[in-house]
Symmetry: C2
Subunit: 374 residues, 2 copies
């Protein structure tokens, strides 16, 4: 079968030939329909994040997939059922551990998991994959064409759940939310927060020049675009309003610290990005004091578990078609894999990297690879 693999740090992804996997006991064989591409894939490609499975020199990419059960292999799944696979698995040679037993592999520390398509395990960019049935989340046939968006949506489901939990010891009454980043994760989050009951006003920060399709999406969602070149994060409370929630999806480390300033009293910043080392000066006394005197919180969040995938499928069902069509700017077959990875050779930054600097003129938002049509 065909698969898309990469030697991290040493090349661009290309199509390789691999044997069709054989499902072990408890595993189903899944025929892959579509797999999304995101910033993490670019980090894996450039070698700054993740790594190949032991004993291999290439990694099959892909962690945002949707497929159809080809051989249920007595797992209880039905042939023809569309499914979205979750990402984390127990490390090689370990059947399970306490985090997987609790259904919370997203809370497992390093060493207690591998991530398919990211670190230590091959991903989903292949014609067929096998997976234990417990890691395959059913999705309806009508949502299946967009099923590769479930994984990124699940990331935000978890982050918002943790952010809200951090404010659950009191009667939090949020109004305004700010999303940092205009990548696909940022835009999906703007849509989710705009649709949520607890936020009346949503803002999204980026560095795009008007006119731009991304700004059109933000505004059609009823949100307000903020240009980071005109309004730095820490000036947003004065220029717009203080934010009850800041959702950071840029991986730009200064934003994490500036978010403390952007928050309203009792607000929470959810951090999602994975920056590299970067030393800079902060007014640590001020930031510390600001966190304390205004009861502010910062919550880091990574990965997601099956409950978040299930919530994400419900969320996906509510998102308007125009939004999905606007965000997914290209779906490419194996014959044009290079078009699915437009940034793989162009630069090393992540797709969601929205650091201040030169304008981002790229109109690509989200791409996917299609292995079979449905």
């Amino acid at each position: 079968m065909k698969a898309i693999a990469v030697q991290p740090g040493a090349g661009v992804p290309d199509v390789v030939e691999r044997p069709v996997p054989e499902p072990a006991s408890g595993e189903a064989l899944v025929r892959i329909h579509r797999v999304g591409v995101d910033g993490t894939d670019y980090e894996v490609i450039e070698g700054s994040h993740g790594g190949v499975p032991e004993g291999d020199d290439r990694l099959v990419l892909g962690h945002e997939a949707v497929g159809v059960v080809d051989d249920p292999n007595n797992t209880g799944l039905e042939a023809g059922q569309y499914v979205v696979p979750t990402v984390r698995r127990p490390p090689p040679g370990i059947e399970t551990n306490e985090y997987f037993e609790r259904g919370e592999p997203d809370m497992a520390p390093e060493g207690a998991y591998v991530e398919r398509g990211i670190v230590g395990a091959h991903g989903f960019m292949a014609e067929y994959i096998t997976s234990p049935a417990e890691f395959l989340v059913p999705i309806s046939a009508d949502l299946a064409p967009w099923g590769f968006l479930v994984e990124p949506l699940s990331i935000t489901e978890k982050a918002l759940e943790h952010a809200r939990a951090s404010r659950s010891a009191f009667d939090w009454q949020p109004n305004a939310a700010l999303v940092l980043g205009t990548g696909s994760l940022g835009l999906l989050t703007v849509a989710m927060v705009a649709a949520a009951d607890d936020f009346e006003r949503v803002y999204c920060l980026g560095r795009k020049d008007r006119p731009h399709p991304v700004i059109d999406v933000i505004e059609r969602l009823g949100a307000t675009y903020i240009d980071s070149r005109e309004t730095p994060v820490d000036e947003i409370p004065t220029a717009s309003e203080p934010m009850d929630l800041v959702y950071e999806a840029t991986g730009y480390a200064k934003h994490a610290f500036e978010s403390i300033d952007a928050l309203a009293p009792n607000g929470v910043a959810a951090l999602l990005g994975v920056p590299s080392d970067w030393e800079f000066e902060v007014d640590g006394g001020y930031l510390h004091r600001e966190l304390v005197l205004h009861n502010k919180a910062i919550v880091g969040s990574v990965n997601s578990n099956r409950s978040h995938f299930e919530a994400a499928i419900d969320t996906l069902a509510e998102l308007p078609d125009w939004l999905l069509e606007a965000i997914v700017t290209g779906i490419y077959g194996l014959e044009s894999v290079d078009r699915a990875f437009p940034h793989a050779t162009a630069h090393a930054a992540t797709a969601d990297d929205e650091s201040a600097g030169t304008p981002d003129d790229d109109t690509t938002i989200k791409t996917a690879v299609e292995f079979t049509t449905i």
Copy 2:
């Protein structure tokens, strides 16, 4: 009547003469028994925090009090009932606001409250005070001698409640807790965390040379003393173990950032200190990434509300007498007020300031002023 007042930044506290206050409708008249002294009092004395009520040039100090109802004034309280007053009140001229209506004045932003004895309202270091009955929390006669510890205990009740809430979206299984600071708040917190069901091992960081009564208290509580001059906060995971909870009670801003390193995956740092501005360099990329990849959280916490005072009274009832006697190193009458404020002229740091540096040889832990015996 006698009261203890200060001109912030311009002097040391001294005894002044004030008229006995008249309770307004809904207020009771309380005869004050004892009032504790803490780091915030020293910040007020030196003028770095808080401020006098409008139209006054001196502030009556004191926010950790216990007294006895002298005139219930038809509030429903009974004469002779011991009470602990809470600290925040609506600003002058405002009867209430949404935060007070919800019973959560601790979550009110600046401008939506005054704090008795700290900012904008006279405190409890007086022979008599008046207070709306809703801000007077009943305490039993046998606990009343230690009732001035209820306010600091309530600060930790709130901080721990918020820290635990931040971890409530998943099955948090903490084991180890680290308290930064060996002041009275730090020691009371060590006792509370050591008695809690969710922490098996408790550590307390300070900079005292052995032998020292504070180290004796830590060890008698079953906790482990860590000398910050030997083991910086960010090296604690290697030297001891990673911490599921870090409770910062030093006001030393670098600790807030180093705590991210001290935390175990899924851990939370509760920040309590109120440092001044201080610029320094951090590896912001690393700290941001560490928060995200290990699902860590930081929760700032200030003040407390009536529910935390009630929980603190329950906690106080469980604390052993030897601990209270060890922590309260002096109770002084009005004739020796200077002994109740041993640091008021010596230096400008807060009582809980545990920044790395010269050893702290002081054996004073907690003092209180006694206005009447009971």
